[in-house]
């Protein structure tokens, strides 16, 4: 699968046990595996082809391990990433603190990486609203402050998962379109020049 070209490098970051792998699993295979928790070892790579407005975009998703052990390594996984999905567990405030850490990392080392904040396990809140570990508005304010998109997903029910990745791909396509436009202008200028010289020689 990965022999193909990857358009967008997406990296999943966040504290262990927030459900990064489950999120990828739901998105890529549309399933939710029930069973004992399996922590990711190192990082896993998976490529997914999707279509945005008739264009195909290949997301290369790096699902990283949340364990502190791999923290020093993490830069190799997020280097050059165009999008980072920073996950936190909606029911665990400490995981949000950890998300903030990753945001700071990204701001320091990967300016061009767009950040998508993702609160996971939203199905748990549906069972019991009191389980919410951190106020929604606080998170919203933080997301605005760092210019990040905010999603609340459930890998168990599938809620907002596709929307999240769709948004990542759309943003990429938009950015590309914008870049082509600006690059296009540059090309236009030079073309004008060459046309000028061309016409000059011709006449």
């Amino acid at each position: 699968m990965s022999g193909q070209r990857v358009d967008v490098k997406v990296v999943m970051l966040g504290k262990e046990y927030v459900g990064k792998t489950s999120l990828v699993e739901r998105y890529v295979h549309n399933r939710f595996l029930v069973g004992p928790y399996q922590n990711t070892i190192g990082a896993a790579f998976v490529a997914k082809v999707m279509s945005v407005g008739g264009r195909t975009v290949t997301l290369g998703i790096w699902d990283t391990a949340g364990s502190e052990r791999y923290e020093a390594m993490s830069r190799i996984y997020y280097r050059g990433a165009r999008a980072a999905i920073v996950c936190y567990d909606l029911t665990d405030s400490s995981s949000f603190q950890r998300a903030k850490f990753w945001v700071t990392e990204l701001q320091n080392f990967e300016e061009n990486c767009r950040i998508y904040l993702c609160g996971t396990k939203s199905d748990l809140l549906e069972e019991d609203r009191k389980k919410r570990g951190i106020d929604f508005h606080d998170v919203q304010d933080y997301a605005d402050e760092i210019k990040a998109e905010l999603f609340e997903t459930s890998s168990k029910t599938g809620q907002s998962v596709d929307e999240l990745f769709q948004k990542v791909a759309e943003d990429y396509v938009q950015l590309m379109a914008f870049q082509v436009m600006t690059e296009g202008e540059g090309v236009d200028l030079s073309q004008k020049n060459s046309t000028y010289f061309y016409s000059c020689c011709h006449h």
């Binding site: 295979h29 928790y37 922590n39 990711t40 998976v46 391990a65 364990s67 052990r69 791999y70 400490s94």
Partner: protein
């Protein structure tokens, strides 16, 4: 249970007639069968092996590895010169033993006290545990916890818990404190605690600064073997953090809580302990190769060899802890312990089954100071490809190697045949044609590989399989006893007879029905050896490849 042990002097030939292999001590180069020098036994590879030459079990356990400098002085064992001081120590031990059992009782008291404190554990602890398997959540106050066959504890020299096989480390912190106290108590006297034997239990201590590993076992394993397993746990920890990092951390902060760094690895360590209890690979210090036609294996190996990259050191193809093929860089050999750790890593997690994993891993026997990067992916249900690279930036290059390998397999038209071979990973002992033979393990020392048939009736239940392995463990421990090693063992048990034969070239363990005679068993050895010789190109990897 009587162990009938005999050494047949007649089998031995004078040293002079044999070429000592690889600078082994002369006493080991004595081969009972002239002509079966290491390298010529059935299963020996044609161009040398794939592994670091671990001539024997003693080599695996002897503390001659790179971390020698770090070892505390009291561990300078293994030197012949120390023999006398060892005798001294064991004498000291016998004098100490009563005192120690006394302390062991205190330990239980302490444990009971700690349980009362357990109630006010922080919610944070509870959360942490929720992320771990149920096994870890066990209540250490329960009788069931005490009844486990083998407990394993890892602690730092500051007495901080690092790992416990059963129950949460927090609940056991005072117990571990006592363990450290025992270690320090003897150390103060310029001595070292090795084990405590009491009430059917063996408590074995292994000190690898900055860690202390303790096992509390009711199994029939020897102290040496339990210590060997503890070393595996130590290497397992190194494979995650490297020896350099481990030491650096504890130099910076003596009371560091290593669990922070090891979070999420408990499952790997648990799996290693379970695997050691049922897979003879660890006992043999060798890898089991998947039986397959030699032509097929050679083609697969060639495909693997051709899918190379500059940073690749090892390409390993495996199926359920059995080796299909291993290609290595010239001059670089893998150590069986490192291979076992890799096998364990792969079998301990289902997270490798999707996508492609890229993970840092230290191979402590190869180089305990740095990380390799392993690309792990499943090609088929039970076929796992492991590519070990030196460059952490090389993911896409290595990933491309995988695709090239798969492409080559397809082009050569062997994919299907390979899958067929995976479907029959074992053979029946009846193929050998020895009526009374129930099971055997044969290890070729020069290739570092062993072969073994499927375990069949009467060893059907898990308990019976376990029991058979324990019998092999027992024979193995007798054969490799450091003070009195044996070459030939014939063991008569109530349910089976066993024979062990250890030479400089191979190790053979056979299990017979209890009705056979010793004479018949001994004469069957020849027949089995001939059979293995005839089948060796299928059972072993005779032509290992290099890039």
């Amino acid at each position: 249970m009587a162990a009938d042990v005999h050494k047949k002097k007649g089998w031995e030939v004078p040293n002079g007639s044999l070429v000592p292999t690889d600078g082994q001590p002369m006493e080991r180069s004595e081969s009972p069968t002239p002509g079966l020098v290491q390298g010529t036994e059935p299963g020996a590879g044609q161009e040398g092996g794939m592994f670091v030459h671990t001539r024997s079990y003693e080599d695996l356990t002897s503390p001659e590895d790179g971390d020698v400098a770090s070892r505390s002085p009291e561990e300078g064992r293994g030197d012949q010169a120390d023999q006398t001081s060892m005798a001294h120590i064991s004498k000291d031990f016998s004098e100490l033993s009563t005192q120690l059992t006394g302390m062991a009782l205190d330990l239980e008291e302490e444990m009971r006290l700690s349980q009362e404190n357990e109630m006010d554990l922080s919610p944070q602890t509870a959360r942490r545990d929720s992320a771990r398997s149920e096994k870890e959540d066990e209540d250490v106050t329960m009788e069931a916890w005490r009844m486990h066959q083998k407990h394993v504890f890892v602690l730092s020299e500051a007495g901080k818990p690092v790992y416990s096989r059963y129950g949460s480390e927090e609940a056991l912190s005072s117990t571990m404190g006592v363990m450290m106290a025992l270690v320090s108590f003897l150390e103060a006297e310029k001595n070292a605690i090795r084990s405590i034997h009491a009430d059917g239990y063996k408590v074995v201590f292994v000190r690898r600064s900055p860690l202390v590993l303790v096992a509390m076992a009711r199994t029939r394993q020897s102290e040496q073997e339990i210590a060997h397993e503890l070393l595996y746990i130590y290497y397992q920890i190194l494979s995650l953090v490297t020896w350099t990092q481990l030491n650096h951390i504890f130099q910076q902060k003596q009371n560091y809580d290593l669990r922070r760094l090891l979070a999420g690895s408990e499952r790997i360590t648990d799996n290693l302990l379970d695997l050691m209890a049922r897979d003879p690979s660890f006992l043999m210090g060798a890898a089991r190769s998947l039986p397959m036609a030699a032509g097929l294996r050679d083609t697969v190996s060639t495909c693997l060899q051709q899918a190379k990259a500059k940073s690749l050191v090892f390409s390993i193809l495996l199926s359920r802890n059995q080796l299909v093929s291993l290609v290595r860089r010239k001059d670089q050999f893998l150590h069986p312990i490192d291979l076992h750790l890799l096998f364990n890593l792969i079998s301990s997690s289902s997270s490798f089954r999707e996508g492609e994993a890229w993970t840092p891993i230290c191979l402590p026997k190869f180089n305990s100071s740095g990380f390799f990067h392993a690309h792990i992916s499943y090609l088929e249900q039970d076929l796992c490809l492991l590519l070990v690279s030196t460059d952490r930036e090389d993911f896409f290059t290595i990933s491309d190697c995988k695709h090239r390998f798969q492409e080559r397999l397809r082009k050569r038209g062997v994919s299907h045949a390979l899958l067929e071979a995976l479907r029959t990973p074992f053979y029946s002992v009846s193929q050998v044609g020895i009526p009374d033979l129930r099971h055997f393990i044969y290890k070729s020392k020069s290739s570092g590989l062993f072969t073994s048939p499927e375990i069949e009736a009467p060893y059907v239940s898990e308990e019976e399989k376990q029991r058979l392995l324990e019998l092999y463990q027992y024979l193995h421990s007798r054969a490799h006893n450091s003070s009195r090693p044996l070459k030939n063992i014939y063991f008569t048990g109530p349910s089976e007879n066993l024979l062990a034969w250890v030479t400089s070239a191979f190790e053979l363990y056979m299990c017979y029905s209890p009705l056979g005679t010793k004479a018949a068993a001994v004469s069957a050895v020849n027949k089995l050896m001939k059979w293995i010789r005839r089948e060796e190109d299928r059972l072993f990897i005779l032509t290992p490849q290099t890039y």
